[in-house]
Amino acid sequence: MAKTADQYFDELRGTRVWRSIFRSGRGSSTLKRALAIQQNVFLHLFSTKVRTRMLSFSATWYLGTLTLGTFLILVATGIPLMLYYHPSAPQAYADTKDLQFVVSSGMFLRNLHRWSAHAMVFLVFAHMFKVFYRGAYRAPREFNWVIGVILLLITLLLSYTGYLLPWDQLAYWAITVGSNIASAVPLIGEKIHFLLLGGHAVNANALLRFYVLHCMILPLTAMFFVAIHFWRIRKDGGLYAHSSEPAVVRAQAAIPTSPGSAEKSGTPSGGAANKEGR
């Protein structure tokens, strides 16, 4: 039964329409599968090949992928929420209550959005800790670590701007306190505070600014940096596995610290043995 389904699918992949969209063609040789990745506009950001070992749970705990998952949930739930939400001063709170109690599945969408937001902040931190303790931030991956730090900041800003949108007491005072922290910046603090809120206090202007930041500017910026982040994984040599790094790479990574340490990591006992062991 399964075989016939496979056969149907393989036939479909041979059709002219399918071939006009996906160019890799029929069959499932390693080359075909690599082409399927390499010729897809979204997947070509990733490596065409990955070590099977790197796909095991223990290698990464899937933290980066899970973070992307929460981000996609947030986009998918956030857009429907926008259809019932007016970012205007008295209306926003009423709309939030409507979403909670009147709109069909509104409570589900809102809670999913909120919990995914909390999960995303947690997962970003967990991902960074995992990368840090594995030493995966080191050369040649330093730049991708920096991109990761930018993504952490965007995540926190998304969380912060979203916090105001329910327009309840918690939101109001949290943003009052948070924006006053911004005014502690030397010299330009008051200016930042004024530009962020579009006024001297948290009011209608602030709500609208936070809404635009939360729904447009920050998500688009995040997507931009996520694309670079994924592309850099491929460019920096795939997912990081210390034991399978070629001895040359490991030696190179050690050079900037001191010539002595480079020599040390280039010894056959460390490099060659691990090159074999997968």
């Binding site: 005072w173 306190v177 006053n180 922290i181 202007n205």
Partner: protein, 166 residues
């Protein structure tokens, strides 16, 4: 042969300098455009008209406030205090991070619910993270006999002119 080489060289040299000229011209105009865009963008983001409540608050007739009382106006974020020396007004907005403070009559002090700053009845800080005392605001009596407070003007604490006496 040598001559020909020479001419090609000069031709190349002038060609490069012309290209460099246009590169500089292009980059220069782009930088001017970028600076202009930044200036316009900054101006656009700064609202010229604000629909915020007036800083001047009418606190009503002074006899509403009994002697030795501290009254919090929640909506306007000010205290109206009737002390032995006269009426005065304090900002009720904590100088730490902008939370609304509250008067605690049982402790005879002003306390912030956010991070635990405490102030005396005259605004002086007792403890907590607040960097400054609660500022005094200008008060006066208008022609109708109402007590007015200007939240945008600070006055020196405990100064003679900072009180209203009736």
């Amino acid at each position: 042969m040598a001559d020909e080489n020479q001419t090609t060289k000069t031709a190349q040299a002038s060609d490069v300098s012309r290209r460099q000229f246009f590169v500089k011209l292009g980059l220069g105009s782009l930088s001017i455009a970028a600076a202009g865009t930044a200036a316009f963008g900054y101006q656009y983001l700064e609202p010229n008209v604000l629909y915020e409540p007036s800083p001047v608050v009418n606190a009503g007739k002074p006899d509403r406030y009994p002697l030795d009382s501290v009254t919090l106006d929640v909506n306007n974020g000010i205290y109206i205090i009737h002390s032995q020396e006269g009426y005065f007004s304090l900002s009720a907005v904590c100088t730490h991070l902008g939370c609304l403070t509250a008067w605690k009559p049982e402790l005879n002090l002003i306390a912030c619910p956010c991070h635990g700053s405490k102030f005396e009845q005259n605004g002086k800080k007792i403890e907590g993270p607040a960097p400054r005392p609660l500022p005094w605001k200008r008060v006066w009596i208008n022609d109708d006999g109402d007590l007015l407070v200007d939240r945008s003007t600070d006055v020196p604490p405990l100064a003679r002119d900072s009180f209203v006496r009736i």
